[in-house]
Subunit: 422 residues, 2 copies
């Protein structure tokens, strides 16, 4: 008997498994995953500590403690001018992942289409497939700053299209959609009666004066969008598992039903920590963002100056950059494949589970070859751009969340690995 | 445009909304919901505190911290003799609700049948419907201790049956399935190639020397069952959101995919607290169980001795009892309805949202009438047995988790409300 739901069984292999497997190599330097390495700011730890010692160990109200719902609504109001009802239009979740999953599952019915601009976080596509929807992939390109053009978006719309996913600031490209791009997407949503699912998790992490605008700032969108956000990235609180959704009561009706059956409520101590994060001093967050900016500048600067086989533009936001490895692939694909099939390459790759990687996969993507070469030869973990959609081919994702020391060591290793070819 | 997935939109009205709405009345005494009122034991708070102050604020491995997975596997091994691989056959979740939802969603494909013995926790039926399956309700009756007979179970099996849900110790009846009942269910599962989903959340809360056996104790079931458990009830840790699933790697394949997309990992501080709960002193848990036993005995004793219109058997486990109100309904249904339609009754019921209750609903269930009469007249919150399946009609669920003072006051109020009729 087949024991796994067919929509799960039939999912294509995700690159994330390979990425996580490689990341477990303790001798490698990881620019691969998106986990901030900062400590959670002390006033937030203090609030969690207080909650822990004052008996906050029972269920919270399903949709969150009202003080936290109110703090989230206030944040949204001050940033967007949109006033949502804290108790009915904000639901606190155990991280942004249940917020994302339940949003897609509640909105997307069997055979509905979901418009997904790429490169973007692979989960949008996978969740849409799991819940029985169809993903319509909308590619975007470096020449447009990895934001899809309004024409490309409009042409992708089908009669079955129900939801448009926007991820800005973007994982993996670091792109931040301008107000004009959001407005154009909103017009398409209104013309075709789409709901916009706006993943704004990296909203706070922007550089050089960039502002990450919310879809809520666009007139008329409040009744046709669900916004996802959380504190994992902005406040280095990934382990606390606090995210949320914001949207009209009508749009959140299905979400709340799913939330009741698969979550009940977010962790209580974490909710009190989150309240401190949103109402306490913001200086620690700004300091983290400043440090991310320095690390971004370090990695961009060294790649631009010392690694001519890669080409990188400074990302406007998120903790990722998306350098092009097209020149490396064009000039040295065969060399990289030969190395990976040689003794040293095989030694590195043979440790990976066959369910995650086979040698013949090297034929599928030059970016995958580059990722595996950098891993096997330089012991630096990056993520193939192909993991995030076909238009990510020719790029690799690098996180600049690690320390400056780790970034410097990673670049030194990359330089040594590519030295014979430069 | 319809913005809610049809399987959610088409769910029948759940009694839980009405129950929660009534529970918000601060003048009422609630025997309605299942939240332990104990403080989490101090050594668990201490471990959480230590985790909080030693930087445990990052993502954990997806399936949990290995020490906690190992502690869970050890608990299972010592209780059942079954050795599961901690890293691949245990997944730690953010409470038992995501464990339950993801188990059903991963196992049940569109149009698969799910066998659900009732009375039981309403979520099994609702989740099965949400994910596109069909619920096959198997009634059980008081004369068999609210455990379905093997014949009733076997007769309910359809060719499309995929999963059999067992909830023991049971919410709402307090029934605990004996080894013979589990064995009979296991035989049916093997004969018809079913997977058993065993919700053992109340496993520790048993009385009078009762042992709540796990389905894992039955020979041959390890490869066709998923066990759900957690610490919310046993260790008064509901707000920490820690549950888990245990099962073979093959059975958990789909579960892990869902977990990756809708959870990522359980809260980190809570996982360290859970580790202390499972590896530290057990005395605080036994003390809580002893206190539950005293509260159970108090409520059973007073109802049996002083409320002749109800009839109650002492539950073997859980924090609920399920007294019969059949005599009350047979003799005074019209009186209760008349009260609810009178001035005082209307005053109490008019505060409820019309989406949750209309006067004509009183015709549907004598148990609902009794629940609402006890609420409106006595200001005591109970739950209609009809909320948990048709075979719950004629009963109401009462939680004995509240304090002895609250239980005494509730019984005093019930006695005064029923006094004219005794």
């Amino acid at each position: 008997v087949e024991t796994t739901r067919s929509s799960i069984k039939n999912l294509p292999t995700s690159g994330i498994g390979l990425l996580l497997a490689i990341s477990e190599d303790s001798e490698a330097i990881s620019l691969g995953v998106g986990s901030p390495n900062f400590d959670t700011p002390p006033h937030i730890i203090g609030a969690a500590n207080h909650a822990l010692h004052t008996g906050r160990s029972h269920y919270s109200p399903d949709y969150g403690i009202p003080e936290l719902q109110t703090a989230i609504a206030s944040k949204i109001a001050s940033e967007t001018g949109v006033y949502l009802d804290p108790l009915t239009e904000i639901v606190v979740t155990a991280g942004s992942s249940p917020a994302l999953f339940n949003s897609i599952m509640s909105l997307v019915d069997t055979n509905d289409d979901v418009l997904i601009p790429t490169p973007s976080y692979f989960a949008y596509d996978f969740i849409s497939r799991i819940v029985g929807g169809h993903s319509i992939i909308v590619p975007s390109y470096e020449e447009h700053g990895f934001v899809p053009t309004p024409d490309d978006l409009a042409e992708a719309v089908t009669p079955e299209s129900k939801v448009l996913v926007i991820c800005s600031p973007n994982n993996p490209t670091g792109a931040v959609w301008g107000l004009d791009s959001l407005k154009a997407a909103a017009d398409i949503a209104m013309d075709h009666n789409l709901i916009v699912l706006s993943d704004e998790l990296y909203q706070r992490i922007v550089f050089d004066g960039t502002v990450a605008h919310s879809i809520l700032e666009i007139d008329g969108l409040v009744d046709r969008c669900i916004v996802i956000n959380g504190l994992s990235k902005s406040h280095a609180m990934a382990g606390f598992r606090i995210g949320w959704v914001a949207g009209s009561e009508e749009l959140l009706e299905g979400f709340k039903a799913l939330h009741q059956y698969n979550s009940i409520c977010a962790p209580m101590v974490s909710q009190h920590a989150a309240l401190a994060a949103l109402t306490g001093p913001d200086e620690p967050v700004r300091e983290m963002i400043d440090e991310y900016a320095r690390r971004r500048n370090l990695l961009v600067g060294r790649l631009a100056g010392e690694v001519p086989l890669m080409s990188v533009k400074a990302p406007k936001g998120s903790i990722f950059m998306f350098p092009s490895v097209k020149h490396l692939i064009e000039s040295h694909l065969d060399d990289m494949v030969a190395y990976l099939k040689g003794t040293e390459g095989r030694m590195a790759l043979n440790r990976l589970p066959p369910s995650l990687f086979r040698m013949e996969d090297l034929q599928s993507s030059g970016s995958l070859v580059a990722m595996l070469f950098l891993y096997a030869r330089a012991r630096v973990v990056t993520a193939s751009g192909s993991f995030f959609g076909k238009s990510g081919e020719g790029f690799i994702r690098m996180s600049f969340a690690p320390t400056s020391e780790a970034i410097n060591e990673a670049v030194d290793r990359i330089i040594r690995a590519l030295e014979p070819w430069e």
